[in-house]
């Protein structure tokens, strides 16, 4: 029996060489399906490599330019007015090394005249488009600004977080409730019907959800709450909640189903009522699976693009109420990638945002997977 799945070693006992055509085909197929098997790993690595390749230049890039602070320093050093005037033509121009910058200045005002300011020009002209601190803490995202582009993602992060958070406020209780109802209270055909319905709801494309937010929920919010615009956190939150709920319900229901029936029977034999069985036995036993369901729902709404692009109002804003319009990270990429020139700072900044999104969703999925695997081991 043991050699049933072994086709490699030719039998030495009877000297019969089994390496005929079928054997070679078998080997070839084994190699081919192995390559296909690892394709998922290749693609994940590929995704990371390619978005990093396009975006990392932005993080690492150093420019040298005569920016305002350099002019201020030059003025402090008492550079003559005429020379200051002369070198303003270089303002905003980018050089790859400080020496290039110095040479350009020397060319205009002469080597001798530039000598006293050499130190300032070389050392203070460093001008990086990416600034880790402002990238994470500045709420100003103005990549197309003529004067000085700013790449701060705080408002975008807050936008994504507020919409996802609001969506989860709706989706978590309702989908867990629905999972308990479908998994524990109904049986037979009714259960099948509800499960199929939930599965169908999960299939509605996100662009259709965005359209629903735009043309159905938007006027509804304006009418109900008397606000000037209905494209806001409330709108996108409701939509994302409705989008994430079917997925969470399905996974949570699977987690409840995985609790062995003998747990329920033992509790019922002790005289527990149905809801006692559910809350004291089934839910605690399935808690890991339920947490994983919630995490995957969070990951899903976090990465949702088209629906938030269309329903949040897409204005950069630190919101103070659920009636404020916001802008999400995913939506920013979707809206701006088309107009950013390939290789420009703006383009690379959007890929940097992509790296950030990739890392966050990767972490969420990894955590959910670890939790679920913990359940399987138990």
């Amino acid at each position: 029996m043991a050699q049933a799945d072994r086709t490699s070693a030719p039998s030495s006992r009877d000297g019969d060489d089994r390496r005929n055509l079928a054997w070679f085909i078998d080997k070839a197929v084994q190699v081919l399906v192995f390559i296909a098997g690892i394709s998922a790993i290749v693609f994940i690595i590929g995704i990371f490599v390619f978005i990093t390749k396009e975006g990392v230049g932005f993080i690492l890039k150093s420019d040298y330019a005569l920016n305002e602070s350099v002019f201020d320093l030059l003025e402090e050093q008492k550079m003559p007015e005429a020379q200051l005037e002369a070198i303003t033509v270089l303002e905003g121009k980018k050089f790859s090394t400080p020496q290039d910058l110095l040479k350009a200045v020397e060319k205009i005002i002469g080597v001798e005249a530039a000598r006293p300011y050499r130190e300032i020009l070389v050392e203070k002209s460093h001008d990086q488009p990416f600034n880790a601190k402002s990238f994470f803490t500045s709420p100003k995202w103005a990549p197309t600004s003529e004067i000085k582009p700013v790449y701060g993602t705080l408002a975008l992060m807050v936008g994504t977080a507020s919409v996802t958070g609001f969506a989860m406020l709706i989706a978590i209780p309702f989908s867990l409730g629905a999972a308990i109802y479908i998994g524990e209270f109904v049986t037979g055909r009714k259960r099948e019907f509800l499960k199929i319905l939930v599965e169908l709801l999960a299939a509605i494309p996100s662009v259709v959800w965005g359209f629903v937010g735009l043309s159905l929920i938007n006027p509804l919010i304006i009418k109900l709450f008397h606000v000037p615009i209905g494209l806001n956190i409330l709108n996108a939150g409701v939509i994302l909640g409705l989008m994430a709920a079917p997925i969470m319900t399905t996974i949570a229901e699977d987690a409840l189903k995985a609790v062995p029936d003998r747990y329920r029977e033992a509790a019922e034999a002790m005289g527990a009522t149905r809801w006692q069985v559910i809350f004291k036995v089934v839910v605690p036993a399935a808690r890991h699976g339920l947490v994983a369901a919630v995490l995957l729902g969070v990951g899903r709404s976090f990465g949702e693009t088209m629906a938030v692009l269309m329903a949040t109002g897409h204005s950069i804003n630190l919101p103070t109420s659920i009636f404020d319009s916001v802008r999400a990270m995913t939506a920013t990429i979707a809206a701006e990638l088309g107009e950013a020139a390939v290789g420009s700072d703006h383009y690379q900044a959007l890929f940097t945002l992509g790296i950030f999104l990739f890392l966050i969703t990767f972490t969420i999925n990894l955590t959910a997977d670890l939790i679920l695997r913990g359940v399987r081991k138990e």
């Binding site: 197929v29 098997g37 662009v207 629903v212 693009t305 088209m306």
Partner: protein
């Protein structure tokens, strides 16, 4: 004597309360979506006729039909399937028939989960970085379809793996004992016995692929192209992007036109899904083992 104690009555009341509460929660989750679908059908269904499906958009997309977008979506989905179905089925065969439960297999599984979980816009960035720029496919059906194919690969892998694993081990063992090689067993026994389950997964993938917008936005789908694509290196219109464009980017589009596009898109996706589900239910009833 047992039935009527005060505690028991209270318990039963609480249970009834919870039952109603959970039923309400389920209803509140499903009902709005059903209402939304009904409105979309009501407002969009009246616009859709053969003329709408088979004519070009006219007057800057403010009137006319959706023919190029419909054809474009069919192109995108077909090319994506050509790429992802063989790859996904082969990967599922590896995972179900060859791989043992090792750390390496676990990493593959993790990669599959992540491939499904990475935001669609990140897939779009990957498509731009890899296919449009690095491999120089340009913005074309090929680049867009490869992006879509990679994104929906987990759907094929997971559903195929499930249906392969549903074939009982005894079938394989019987075949091996007749002296068949592993591949002969898979080809003659495992695949024929799971082909319908695999088809179910493929139909599901079609519906996922047809509805995706973000991954095709920058890789191959155009806002407006009055002519049909001639080869996989052309750009094309797509249903999903067309809905986005006429709903947000073009001023003065009559409302019912957008509803019409939304209705066609959703009818396409839900029909595919229902087909896949019906197929699955039918198979389950027919299974002999």
């Amino acid at each position: 004597m047992f039935g009527a104690s005060a505690l028991n009555i209270r318990n039963r009341k609480v249970e009834g309360l919870f039952r109603v509460l959970f039923m309400l929660m389920t209803g509140l989750l499903i009902l709005p979506v059903v209402i939304i679908l009904a409105i979309l059908t009501w407002k969009g269904g009246s616009v859709v006729d053969l003329n709408f499906l088979f004519t070009n958009p006219t007057e800057g997309m403010t009137s006319g039909g959706i023919f190029p977008a419909l054809v474009g979506t069919i192109w995108l989905v077909s090319v994506a399937l050509l790429f992802s179905v063989p790859l996904g089925v082969a990967a599922a065969i590896y995972l179900s028939e060859y791989a043992r439960d090792t750390w390496f297999t676990r990493i593959i599984n993790l990669a599959i989960i992540n491939l499904a979980g990475v935001p669609s816009i990140v897939h779009a960035l990957f498509g731009v970085g890899a296919f449009v720029l690095f491999f120089r496919f340009g913005t074309s059906i090929l680049a867009a379809s490869l992006t879509l194919g990679i994104m929906t690969l987990p759907v094929v892998i997971v559903s195929t793996r499930e249906s392969l694993q549903a074939v009982p081990m005894a079938f394989r063992e019987a075949c091996w004992n007749m002296g068949a090689t592993k591949w002969q067993t898979i080809r003659k026994i495992v695949l024929p016995n799971s082909i319908s389950g695999i088809l179910t997964g493929i139909i599901l993938e079609v519906s996922r692929t047809a509805g995706e917008t973000a991954p095709v936005m920058f890789t191959g789908a155009a806002f407006f192209l009055p002519k049909l694509p001639q080869s996989i290196f052309d750009q094309t219109m797509a249903m999903s992007l067309h809905l986005f464009v006429i709903a947000t980017q073009v001023p003065g589009v009559p409302e019912n036109l957008s509803y019409g596009v939304a209705f066609v898109l959703i009818a396409m996706v839900l029909t595919m899904n229902s087909l896949s589900i019906a197929f699955r239910v039918y198979l389950r009833g027919r299974k002999k083992w």
